[in-house]
């Protein structure tokens, strides 16, 4: 059966991908960002997931407002890199896990989460700008993805609580996949930023820190908030944080935040947080001689007698 190893919340600012493409790893202006992704990269290289399931948003790149999907699941084996106005980035096409994605489509729809699906549409920086920092191609990507697009551009956008429920449904869908697959859930976007109006350039470091705390410790507080709260506290584009909620909803309540990084150089607060699910139950310890064997141990002992 498929299992979920953990989750990643990450900003998806296009300049993150741009800094990677321009080899800015050692540039003092960018090094604190890259350093913050190193533990995530190391964790992935040890845990070796087969698939990353991405909650991300498109930026009116692939989808347009003549039909903007609230939720859309990619079910293809390959996704081209989108052209966002400068030609596509020079990274390989993203590889999709089509079989898992098709299973997820069945599971979600039968679970009354009537998601739309797309095939081989191009995918923009909402997925691959952070991806290059923690799962870089060398030369091809280390594994496959399943992309789930969420509308955060055109109101009405789905509520924080709904995104949480989507995450829970995705968890059920992944865990019911019959093959042995190791899966990590990623939610991209945020943290505080605003890209419109005279309030553009708004940030709120205090709120960002609170969000990073609550997403680990008490995510229900975040799902109870309205979009107006997110916009007031984190700017209009701070609403992207609902994709972190979908990621967190797909993890178990016992998942632990084991790393985070925060860097606010320009217009967007760039954060990354890594969550790990508790490991498999360790092998049962041998009962100490002085301790009365538990009933189960006694039963097991009888079975072997």
């Amino acid at each position: 059966m498929a299992k979920i190893l953990g989750g990643i919340g990450t900003s998806h600012v296009p300049t993150i991908g741009g800094a990677y493409d321009r080899n800015k790893q050692n540039d003092p202006d960018w090094a604190p960002l890259f350093r913050g992704y190193e533990p995530v990269k190391a964790w992935l290289s040890v845990r070796k997931p087969d698939v990353l399931v991405f909650f991300y948003n498109d930026h009116a790149t692939t989808f347009f407002f003549d039909h903007y999907p609230t939720f859309a699941l990619g079910v293809s084996a390959e996704y081209p890199i989108a052209d966002e106005g400068l030609g596509p980035r020079a990274v390989p096409p993203l590889r999709g896990h089509a079989d898992l994605a098709r299973h997820m489509a069945d599971a979600l729809v039968n679970d009354e989460f009537d998601i739309s699906v797309f095939q081989d549409l191009p995918i923009d920086h909402g997925v691959h700008s952070p991806l290059t920092l923690f799962w870089p191609p060398s030369p091809d990507w280390p594994g496959k993805i399943v992309p789930i697009e969420i509308n955060v551009l055109q109101h009405p956008i789905p509520t924080p609580a709904r995104c949480w429920k989507l995450g829970q449904a995705v968890r059920r869908a992944v865990l019911s996949y019959p093959e042995d697959l190791k899966v990590v859930i990623v939610g991209t976007g945020g943290l505080s930023h605003q890209m419109n109006g005279e309030r553009a350039g708004f940030n709120n470091e205090k709120w960002d820190m609170k969000f990073l705390d609550l997403i680990a410790r008490d995510p229900k507080k975040l799902t109870a908030m309205r979009h107006a709260d997110y916009i007031r506290l984190g700017g209009t584009e701070g609403a992207e944080e609902i994709m972190w909620l979908a990621m967190r909803g797909a993890l178990s309540p016992r998942a632990k935040k084991i790393h985070q990084n925060y860097y606010l150089p320009m217009t967007t607060a760039m954060a990354v947080a890594l969550f790990e699910e508790p490991g498999e139950k360790p092998a049962a310890k041998k009962p100490r001689a002085s301790r009365k064997p538990s009933r189960n141990a006694a039963q097991r002992a009888r079975a072997f007698a």
Partner: protein, 119 residues
Amino acid sequence: MNPQLKGTEELQGTYLFDLAASAKALRLNRFLHGLTAAQNRANFKNNPEAALDKAGLTAEERRMVRELDWVALMRYGASFFCLEKLGRVKGVSNPEMVAGFRGETLEEFLKTRNVPGAR
């Protein structure tokens, strides 16, 4: 009003992209979104007026695009994410666009940032 958004009307200098804005600026946003295709970019660069004609934009929409009047475009109902495509074609960076929205020069805006070189 969408109950999820109640209270945002009190925020100064904030333009939410909703279905009314989307309907009003649909043609304009469609033109901007079209700049994700290399052929459309080439057409716009080679003969901007012909490209704007083909998109069926009004005189005011054309003026805003021609003059890169970011504040007016935003107020009119353009999606920032569609404007970004125009920015890329014209070689205007996001910090320059944000400075424009704020009514600042790029230099003035960068002075308000923690790491002005991170562009």
